[in-house]
Symmetry: C2
């Protein structure tokens, strides 16, 4: 209300959905089953019910049983966002050029699906369709495992005894700071994602660990040729991401350089450490 | 010469250093020993010899034995740079606000050390001093292990059979693309770093794997409380990095948002995938 984003706020979710043409569930995936159960009796016939959860099989399992006949439940996931959370973190271009995945279940009404696609396209998104199971495997490697790894390395660094936390912070420009962005994401949202996408995450994590172990062995035995050939083949992936319009071509993510640009403008009395 | 960065280029390193007050070695760390041997006879008495290598114990081991009496060898490492390499990748603000670590060895001349510190400060850097061994452990966790992990996850994703490379690219905004930046770094430079800092990298990697295994176990057994508490404690590290002037406070690294901003400006006929 204060930000001018909504016209009305309700105490109960069921009140909020009364008479709505489109209902979008935007809470951590672990909460969606209970919310679907609570709002089910109030959903209008012909309404479209969707969500933005980062896992889709578990959401289908938890939500679908509660959806009344005549309501179109179409699970969705806009692959967009920053490390920040909440209404203040939103901005108009958030979905522009990003991909929104819809994972329609069997018997989905074609007209309702087309309408929901048009909604996301109007926000500037590209829309893709896939099965919930395939979505969960794609996101395990492109989002969930990367987040887990980032949380882990930041935690490992924080726990070291001989390298102080202030040294980790001071010398973070050597690469570490890149990981701290996604490791600053919402803990409850991510807890729910890992619990809900367990199988796919564990499988992709197993492959990652296998590959890391092979590199570790090459370092231990001084196998420079193996290291160099492994490191040489990963550049093309980034080039592909830039060419696909999913990343800035500027070096260093286009981060500002120079002390003046990096000093937080709003901090009173901020001193360099 | 073409970029106007240098006045003269030499075929032989020994010719280049003749009569120089300051000699800075800027090649992969595996090459420094041979270069030091080649230039040693040509170094002027009283000259300062330094380097910018990301590992320091191995550089001291390889370079120090060749340094003639009367030449001041002071190993150094400016913790600055982007994923790009070569003279074209340089820019005036590169060292501004970044830390340069000097790791003087026993018996280092105080006046020469002060002169080298003043040089880095004139480029805008903060200067820190530590032992070569401590440097190598600090950088193992803040730079070397993060690079190894980034190379690994990008390689793991590229090798998947059931999730295609184009899907990895398309949905990379879910977190994966953050890792592709440092995984696009120079393969030979990084091969040499891992070979030269083997002990510290293997130890930090062992801790990382231990922590990752604990999180993996929590996912397998559905321990949501453990996951949430682990994820909740990593945010402060990023806040510390921003407060220390080592990172932009803008969300998403200040990346441009919106399709227009992300389309590479110079690419002819670039189409969104």
């Amino acid at each position: 209300m204060r930000l001018g984003l909504v016209d009305a706020v309700f105490e109960e979710a069921a009140e909020a959905v009364e008479g709505a043409d489109l209902v979008i569930l935007c809470t951590p995936v672990g909460t969606l089953g209970a919310i679907a159960e609570a709002i089910a009796p109030a959903l209008a016939p012909g309404a479209i019910l969707t969500d933005v959860g980062s896992v889709k099989e578990a959401v289908v399992r938890d939500v679908a049983p509660h959806v009344p006949r005549g309501v179109h439940f179409i699970p969705g996931h806009p692959v967009a966002g920053t490390e920040e959370t909440g209404p203040e973190a939103g901005f108009a271009e958030l979905f522009e050029g990003r991909w929104c995945v819809l994972t329609p279940i069997e018997g989905t009404d074609a007209a309702a699906l087309a309408k929901l696609e048009a909604f996301w396209q109007a926000l500037g998104s590209h829309v893709a369709r896939m099965t919930p199971a395939h979505h969960d495997r794609v996101l395990a490697i492109t989002s969930h495992v990367p987040h887990l790894i980032a949380y882990t390395i930041v935690g490992t660094a924080a726990d070291l005894e001989e390298v102080s936390k202030s040294e980790v912070i001071t010398y973070s420009a050597g690469g570490f700071r890149d990981f701290t962005r996604i490791a600053a994401s919402d803990p409850v949202m991510w807890r729910d994602i890992f619990l809900a996408n367990r199988e796919a995450v564990l499988e992709m994590l197993g492959r990652f660990t296998e590959d890391l172990t092979a590199l570790q062995r090459a370092i231990r035995w001084g196998d420079g040729a193996m290291l160099e050939s492994f490191f040489a083949r990963t550049r093309n992936i980034r080039r592909g991401i830039i060419a696909a319009g999913q990343e800035t071509p500027a070096p260093d993510f286009g981060r500002p350089h120079g002390s003046a640009e990096l000093r937080p403008a709003d901090e009173e009395g901020a001193e360099e450490g």
